[in-house]
Symmetry: C2
Subunit: 268 residues, 2 copies
């Protein structure tokens, strides 16, 4: 190992803390912050949340408009610095609620951590990205409040000219979040996270169709879903028909966490 360069890089998970601080690592009260133990320039830790929902048959992502440089007027994911005593998951929920007023119920999972040294021009910031999925929310959350402007953008518009310009490395984060969501639809019952309970099988099918951009055969979809135990459970009631058509049966989310066999996309 080393040829004299900083031993502090050896710390987490193994020996070496006492080399960095100059005293035995074990004989001290638990430190409250890393700065007390590891001197030198620090790295900030933040979370960013990719919140996806389904609105009018389109997959949409929540973004807020930046009020100041860098990337002024561009659009950014909700997020912010993690507090010293705060768990990462809790931080993601907090940022979502504080910044957009979205109740942080629903599905939330860690996506990936982004740490390119130049991803934020102001400082070294490592960001833990989260993926959140919610049913359609009646009000565009956080719009016309005095806080940052927040709005939904259809993911379809993200690359196009009339779409938003995303700040930082958020284009890559959103793309990764989309891909995660799309592929998790295949082998988990996650599609139901986009549906408000109770929902119909057509609601559920439209989630897949919006995410994959291809129509699915309703009869076969129905059989697939119902043959997977624990995907959905019937609620014993029917939806009010809207504009003709037989009323559909209603379901709620089941207890399954994985789909066997998976519900595979046709082409790739």
């Amino acid at each position: 190992m080393g040829d004299g360069d900083d031993r502090a890089s050896d710390l987490t998970g193994q020996a070496g803390a006492e080399a960095a601080t100059g005293r035995p690592a074990g004989a001290q009260p638990p430190a409250r912050g890393a700065a007390e133990v590891f001197p030198g320039p620090a790295i900030a830790v933040s979370v960013d949340v990719v919140l996806l929902t389904l609105r009018a048959g389109q997959l949409c992502v929540l973004v807020t408009q930046r009020a100041s440089p860098p990337f002024q007027d561009d659009w950014a994911l909700p997020g912010g610095l993690v507090r010293v005593d705060e768990d990462l998951d809790a931080s993601a929920r907090r940022q979502l609620t504080e910044e957009t007023g979205v109740a942080a119920s629903g599905h939330l999972e860690q996506l990936r951590t982004y740490g390119r040294p130049d991803r934020d021009p102001r400082a070294r910031v490592v960001s833990v990205a989260y993926l959140a999925l919610l049913p359609n929310l009646p009000p565009p959350p956080g719009a016309d409040r005095d806080g940052p402007r927040a709005r939904w953008w259809p993911v379809e518009d993200l690359g196009s000219a009339d779409g938003p310009t995303l700040a930082f490395d958020h284009p890559a984060i959103v793309a990764d979040g989309m891909e995660r969501a799309r592929s998790k639809l295949e082998y988990t019952p996650l599609a139901a996270a986009f549906c408000e309970e109770p929902f119909t099988l057509a609601d559920l099918r439209r989630v897949y169709e919006a995410a994959w951009g291809a129509p699915l055969d309703p009869p076969n979809f129905r059989r697939k879903v119902l043959s997977t135990t624990g995907f959905v459970v019937p609620v014993g009631a029917r939806a009010a028909p809207r504009g003709g058509g037989r009323p559909a049966e209603l379901y709620r989310r089941g207890s399954a966490t994985a789909l066997h066999p998976p519900l595979l996309r046709r082409t790739v």
Copy 2:
């Protein structure tokens, strides 16, 4: 949002930096470290690497024995602090090489980030875990050197009484790494990362059998693999037979990044 609590938590990805520093965020040279921009207690960022390999038909993980508290004499994953100007991926490769002498070629991917506030008793450390897969390495890397003792442990022994005690939250990290590897075998050609080139289809099959703990039918496995374009490419030679039996054809890794259709485990 806020009722007076720290606006600095609002920083990354949106407005608020100037609130934390007291000057415009855009009108300054790029900061070299977050500490200059965001005062207050810092969070340390580290990487930990779950390095898996196949030895004698058993899936093994590389761990080093801790020489000092906390968790003295327990076993820990190779890892350490990320440098201020260092990319996360580069840091993972560096730690692996410095600490265990393992050439960081081969597959390396980000696994997940672990950030429970109490996961390191010394300080708040957020750790970005990586998963590395390598073919069997002739010498137990880093063994009988003056550095930290490093050795392979069969993952089978991890839970048992005669197995190692893992430090910190490393049991969970290793478990997550195993599960990631096991499921990626299904839908990516990652199994070949465990094989030294050139390899036989029997070598490849043994990877699946070790990871999933169940035998696979050799004829059907062969057809599956060969029918997936880009999984493996024939090298045009035969292996030397070992102790009787027809010599097997040799292959090397192909260019495919995904398996369609996937190679699914029988039961779950």
